[in-house]
């Protein structure tokens, strides 16, 4: 080796990063454990559930996200239909656009695009909110006042998102298919009635359930990663920004990994 310090440097860095990553994984697991315990306690004592923040989060993470989720899934439906149209036309298989749109939207695109939008919108907001509270000593103050930050900040977000993400996914399903249908009628001369006729035959309820069933898992990933990164904030205001960015990158990454695992599991189960 020409430059021994370089290799040494490199090896040290790899080592340090590995240790960091393992530490973070352990931290994250213990955080998940804490959240699970708090959630369990809340379920055992429903009086402790904080409804107000849950409702507030349902509005901000769910209702307020309707326009953007609707618009993007509509566009996605349009794009997929448009791309498919050229291929299908060559074989005169125009009507199969309903299969294409139905399966791809319900199974993959709608849950995924919804989760990604919500990770960007709400996951980042969670990290920023909790991170700011950590910097301004609000979390410490909460603990010294005998209020569990988990119970006050994490559980309501988690519960709200688990309720809301499947609903948003259904909304994305509808708008995505509507987008595809619009494209099918203009590009492929497949009318709405024809399209829906074929859609009902080709796409079973399993496809719908498989897609919507993934949403609660994505919701848990987004809420937990966002809150966890918020709690990891130390030091000044710049750290809030860093943790927020990290929460978005990590939650989108984990959502896609989870989606891949779902695909494998579903294909093994022949769903």
């Amino acid at each position: 080796m020409k430059n021994p310090t370089f290799t040494l440097d490199f090896v040290t860095r790899v080592g340090k990063n590995t240790v960091n990553m393992v530490n973070q994984l352990v931290d994250m697991l213990s955080f998940i454990g804490e959240v699970a315990i708090t959630l369990g306690k809340s379920v055992m004592q429903p009086k402790r559930i904080r409804w107000r923040p849950i409702l507030f989060n349902i509005r901000t993470a769910g209702f307020d996200a309707l326009p953007i989720v609707g618009l993007l899934s509509f566009l996605l439906g349009v794009v997929v239909a448009y791309q498919g149209a050229g291929q299908l036309r060559q074989y005169g298989a125009n009507i199969f656009v309903a299969d294409l749109i139905g399966l791809s939207m319900l199974r993959e695109f709608a849950p995924l695009i919804t989760a990604i939008i919500v990770a960007g919108r709400s996951g980042s907001a969670y990290a920023a909110q909790i991170g700011t509270m950590a910097v301004t000593e609000e979390i410490d103050a909460m603990r010294t006042l005998g209020i569990s930050p988990q119970e006050m900040l994490v559980v309501p977000k988690l519960v709200a998102l688990i309720i809301v993400l499947p609903l948003l996914t259904v909304f994305a399903d509808v708008l995505g298919i509507f987008g595809g249908m619009l494209m099918a009628s203009t590009q492929l001369d497949v009318g709405f009635i024809e399209f829906l006729d074929r859609f009902v035959k080709a796409v079973g309820p399993t496809s719908f359930l498989v897609g919507v069933g993934k949403a609660p898992v994505f919701a848990a990933i987004i809420a937990i990663v966002g809150c966890y990164q918020g709690f990891m904030t130390k030091g000044g205001a710049d750290s809030v920004g860093r943790q927020t960015t990290r929460s978005v990158v990590q939650s989108i990454f984990l959502v896609i990994v989870a989606d891949a695992l779902f695909s494998i599991a579903f294909s093994l189960l022949d769903l």
Binding site: E137, T144, L145
Partner: protein
């Protein structure tokens, strides 16, 4: 004022002479960096106890260990007779209701108004009605010298000094018997600082509160502190009244009184009491 005497916790007879806070051989380090090595401290009931020391000497860390926000690497801490090491969650909650903490930067909840901030501990831990809680919150805000119109403002709309007062009002909401103050007068104008001095004395004299504070304010130390612990090099260098400390030969204690601020404060405060009153 009737309500206050009503809620005032009765010191249990058995422990009224035991120290309120007892630290034995407390050591703390962050990685390689040793912050405390073998700290020993005793703080008594109805005492105003100050912790001083240079920046980074571990004052805040020591305070955080007392209020269950951090654990030392070794050693024992007993607060109000309860050992903190293997404390159960229930005991911790009971203890937390018996003390109030005023944070260096206030630690007020930005999403709540000042009045809601002060009322929050009451909402969480008592069965009082909203109207009663409102009354108590108003009384506490009044006690700390905040004007009534501040009550419905948000923390972001307040000055640093007002935030400290509000934070103090919240710390007093549950009628604690023990009060922790991190830099209560830092960033306050001299008149407000004197107000805080008076308030701290009043709390101790009237309600027999034990008060532990971190402060760099020499005037406050001379005026209100019964005993002062000097923290340096990871150890408690000396504990005693300001008078006693000002005579100390210990170099890290001496350095506190040597600077011109220390000198000026000493001059001001060593003059007979009658002169200070005005």
């Amino acid at each position: 004022m009737l309500r206050q005497t009503e809620h005032l916790p009765q010191p249990s007879k058995a422990s009224s002479n035991d120290p309120v806070i007892e630290m034995r051989n407390v050591s703390t380090s962050f990685g390689e960096h040793v912050v405390h090595s073998d700290i020993n401290l005793e703080i008594h009931r109805a005492e105003i106890f100050a912790i001083i020391g240079g920046s980074g000497s571990g004052k805040s860390t020591l305070l955080r260990e007392m209020i269950l926000l951090q654990r030392p690497n070794s050693g024992t801490i007993r607060i109000l007779g309860i050992e903190l090491k293997d404390i159960s969650e229930l005991d911790a909650l009971a203890l937390r209701k018996r003390w109030g903490v005023m944070f260096q930067h206030g630690g007020l909840f930005g999403a709540l108004t000042i009045k809601e901030n002060v009322g929050l501990p009451l909402h969480e831990h008592t069965a009082l009605s909203d109207a009663q809680i409102d009354d108590i919150a108003d009384a506490k805000l009044n006690m700390t010298g905040l004007k009534p119109e501040v009550a419905d403002q948000f923390p972001s709309e307040l000055s640093g000094g007002m935030m400290k007062r509000a934070s103090l009002a919240r710390a007093l909401a549950l009628e604690p018997e023990l009060l922790f103050l991190d830099e209560p007068t830092a960033g306050l104008d001299p008149v407000s600082a004197a107000g805080v001095d008076a308030l701290v004395m009043q709390l101790r004299d009237q309600f027999k509160l034990t008060i532990v504070m971190i402060t760099h304010d020499m005037d406050m130390l001379w005026q209100v502190a019964d005993r002062v612990a000097v923290l340096a090099d990871g150890k408690v260098q000396e504990v005693g009244s300001m008078q006693a400390l000002s005579q100390s030969e210990n170099p890290s204690v001496k350095s506190f009184f040597m600077g011109h601020r220390g000198q000026a404060a000493m001059q001001r405060n060593l003059t007979p009491l009658e002169n200070i009153k005005e």
